[in-house]
């Protein structure tokens, strides 16, 4: 169960919504997405100050100590505003992987900086296959007299170019383990990948005898725990983004005049809008349900995460695509924000695994 009351959660959302309105407007997003780093340091500091970056982290390390339910609600707000930031990379994936690692030393060493926003960390899981499964890992570990060395490739690493700390999932020969690599480590080549979603930062990392330090317990379950939490965060962003795009579209069709009347009076538009409303409501339900199940650690948590992963991805894709169509010509321009959401939706539908992957995982979890 969440430790916060409904009023407290509403207050958290209000604070984040206010910050997004002030600092992540469309103009701010457009200006930030053209920078190299892909985030606004002042806004990032502000997110750390109000406790969003450290939302999941134990207060022992300066964090806010909240859980999946609060996280999901916050992400609805950041997703609606297309926030450009390393929140998913650092505050969510890295922080939760460190928590799942149960490595107290690493937590004490890394989490305070992550929470404060002064350290940006990210997680590297898949190789060029882009599968976010054990099969996708393409980095090997070698224990030598000179210490632990990594060799191989990690790709699609969010904020992999700007991160100070990389948490790399690698094959140990008997299984998997997590390794800490400094951003400026020797034998590490970081290449920026050109992302279709210009608000996102992706990198490909090549390791050639790169020195690394093992963190905590080994095995895929720790990675999966962090991924499931990140999927709920992503689902929240997708649901919040879908709702925002939908609201924008409904507002537009009420005022856009053609044939002497608002286009929203045409049934061709109305029927699209009604169908999209089901998509928006369903994605909110799916994301919130997954967050609750994860918070309560129920037996159905895994399948609810899978459901949210593909349902929210597919809904966001549908809503953003239809939004462009309903806006018509104006949305075919770069100046109109519809494509920013469409790009985000298309990117998020692949970012931690495809809808098809999570459909398959859902069915397997249901026992088929």
């Amino acid at each position: 169960m969440p430790t916060t009351s409904a009023e407290e959660r509403a207050a958290i959302c209000d604070a984040v919504r206010d910050l997004m309105r002030d600092a992540s407007s469309e103009a701010a997003v457009r200006s930030t997405m053209d920078t190299t780093s892909g985030y606004d340091p002042a806004l990032w500091t502000r997110l750390a100050e109000i406790g969003v970056v450290g939302l999941l982290v134990d207060p022992e390390y300066g964090g806010t100590g909240l859980g999946p339910v609060e996280l999901e609600l916050v992400m609805e707000e950041t997703g609606a505003a297309l926030l450009c930031s390393p929140l998913l990379s650092s505050g969510i994936l890295s922080a939760s992987l460190l928590a799942a690692s149960e490595d107290k030393d690493a937590q004490a060493r890394l989490l305070p900086g992550i929470v404060a926003g002064t350290t940006i960390a990210t997680v590297a899981i898949t190789g060029d296959a882009g599968s976010w499964t054990p099969e996708g890992v393409a980095v090997d570990v070698e224990a030598t007299d000179d210490g632990t060395l990594l060799n191989g490739v990690s790709s699609y690493v969010t904020h992999g170019r700007v991160a100070d700390i990389l948490l790399v999932v690698a094959k140990t020969g008997t299984g998997f383990a997590i390794f800490e690599v400094a951003g400026d480590a020797s034998g590490l080549t970081r290449t920026t990948l050109s992302s279709v979603d210009k608000t996102l930062r992706l990198a490909r990392l090549e390791f050639a005898n790169t020195p690394a330090r093992q963190i905590g317990r080994t095995g895929w379950p720790a990675v999966q725990d962090a991924l499931d939490l990140a999927l709920v965060a992503l689902a929240g962003e997708q649901a919040g983004g879908a709702r925002r795009v939908f609201d924008m579209t409904v507002d537009y069709v009420k005022t856009r005049m053609q044939f002497g009347r608002p286009i929203g009076s045409f049934q061709a538009i109305k029927h699209m809008a009604a169908d999209l409303m089901i998509e928006v409501e369903s994605s909110l339900s799916a994301a919130r349900h997954a967050a609750e199940q994860l918070a309560e650690k129920t037996g159905a948590a895994g399948e609810s995460v899978s459901l949210a992963a593909f349902a929210c991805a597919e809904a966001y894709s549908k809503v953003t695509a239809a939004s462009v169509q309903m806006h018509g010509g104006i949305a075919f321009t770069w100046e109109h924000p519809a494509h920013l959401y469409l790009r985000r939706a298309r990117a998020y539908a692949q970012l931690l695994g495809s809808p098809a992957h999570y459909r398959e995982r859902y069915l397997t979890q249901l026992g088929a």
């Binding site: 009076s265 109305k270 409303m277 249901l366």
Partner: protein, 401 residues
């Protein structure tokens, strides 16, 4: 049974009271009534007991057979009845006629009819649609003409389930032809068992007969049976329709032959479909639609208030229509060639084909998907109404045919 703990002492006391009552009264031996229009005497006796004990409409006011409970408290009653599969409770959520009567009947009519409706002694049917008034329901042409303290009814209704059993019909009829169509309608609680009411069964797309046509010729209804006032029928209808649509957001009748037909994974396993990756994608999609609809309904439940036309209810019906048609498509893919066949020798194929036809019950009945989308867009999203050429025209001058 200690699996539920009520934090609030009043809730715990209520749960204990319901449990004690059920323990003392529920024998669990009711016959399974296949025909909801003619319940067995044993079922009716049980439902009457439920009514007398105050569980039928717990959220209604005390003076109208209720207990004045909140929705949350009433859910406790629901839980306990559902746990045993005992019928008759929480009709404040499901009994269309009783809820409409409570909201719009005159006090004398309410006193006369509500107990019978809740005890299911009075069977009622819906006399809304006509051959020329389907989606355009405000275009009904059945006429009601004043004759002393009665009205004389002439016209033809269609898609009426239970008409042969019904004691009363919820009748929408035209009382004023010189005003635009929505403003000349009146809602009557119309006695069915009288000369001038002829019921003819309709054979449906599924090859079953659950619906009827009703021909009304010179039949009578007391003016005191008007609900919601003269020429205010459209408004009453909206409330009644909201209840009807809310029940259509739930799953309709299940498979005729085998429960396995409704369990998509079991059906797929039986037909060897679980090894087909494309089918697995489809299965996940359909199961997701079901689950998402349940989650949406749970989230919307809090917003549902008695007696109001609810947008969320409309969303549920549209969602269910999509689920059923999708399920029919995926089940057909699972069953494959055998879906060429029907009848009891091919139960899974028959169930699949039945669903493929019966899904239209939800996507057409109670307002087509297209009408539902208009309603959602206009009433929930606030999109402007389409041009209505007959809106401000006296109904007498409106083109028909």
């Amino acid at each position: 049974m200690a699996d539920i703990e009520d934090t609030n002492p009043a809730d715990a006391a209520l749960r204990a009271e319901v449990r004690a009552w059920l323990k003392a009264n529920w024998a669990g031996d009711l016959p399974s009534d296949q025909d909801k229009w003619s319940l067995s005497a044993a079922t009716r006796a049980w439902i009457a007991d439920v009514f007398e004990a105050g569980w039928a409409v717990p959220t209604w006011p005390m003076e109208w057979f209720g207990r004045g409970l909140t929705q949350e408290q009433a859910d406790i009653i629901d839980d306990e009845f559902a746990r045993l599969g005992a019928p008759g409770a929480r009709q404040d959520r499901s009994n269309l006629a009783a809820n409409t009567m409570l909201a719009f009947g005159e006090d004398a009519l309410k006193r006369e009819m509500i107990p019978g409706l809740l005890k299911r002694e009075i069977v009622q049917c819906l006399l809304y649609s006509e051959p020329a008034a389907g989606s355009d329901l405000a275009g009904v042409r059945t006429r009601a003409e004043r004759d002393g303290d009665h009205y004389i009814i002439n016209g033809q209704k269609v898609w009426t389930s239970g008409a042969a059993h019904a004691h009363y019909g919820m009748l929408l009829a035209r009382t004023d032809w010189d005003v635009p169509k929505h403003r000349g309608l009146t809602f009557f609680f119309f006695p069915m068992k009288q000369p001038g009411v002829e019921v003819r069964p309709l054979r449906q797309i599924t090859n079953e007969s659950h619906f009827n046509e009703v021909f009304i010729t010179g039949a009578r209804v007391p003016a005191a049976n008007i609900m919601g006032g003269l020429n205010n029928g459209w408004r009453v209808l909206q409330t009644a329709l909201a209840y009807e649509r809310s029940t259509m957001g739930a799953r309709p009748r299940g498979a005729r032959h085998s429960a396995t037909s409704d369990d998509l994974l079991a059906l797929a396993r039986r037909y060897g479909g679980l090894t087909n990756p494309a089918l697995r994608q489809d299965l996940a999609g359909v199961l997701a639609l079901r689950k998402l609809n349940a989650l949406n309904n749970a989230r919307a439940k809090a917003n549902l208030e008695q007696g109001t036309s609810s947008s969320v209810m409309s969303l549920g019906k549209l969602a269910m229509s999509r689920i059923l048609h999708e399920e029919a498509r995926v089940r057909t893919a699972i069953v494959g060639t055998e879906s060429l066949l029907d009848g009891p020798d091919h139960p899974f194929a028959d169930d699949t084909n039945f669903l493929a036809f019966n899904a239209y019950f939800t996507s057409i009945g109670g307002g087509t998907d297209q009408i539902q989308r208009n309603i959602i867009s206009e009433r929930v999203l606030g999109l402007p109404k389409d041009i209505e050429v007959d809106r401000d025209v006296p109904f007498r001058q409106v083109r028909s045919g």
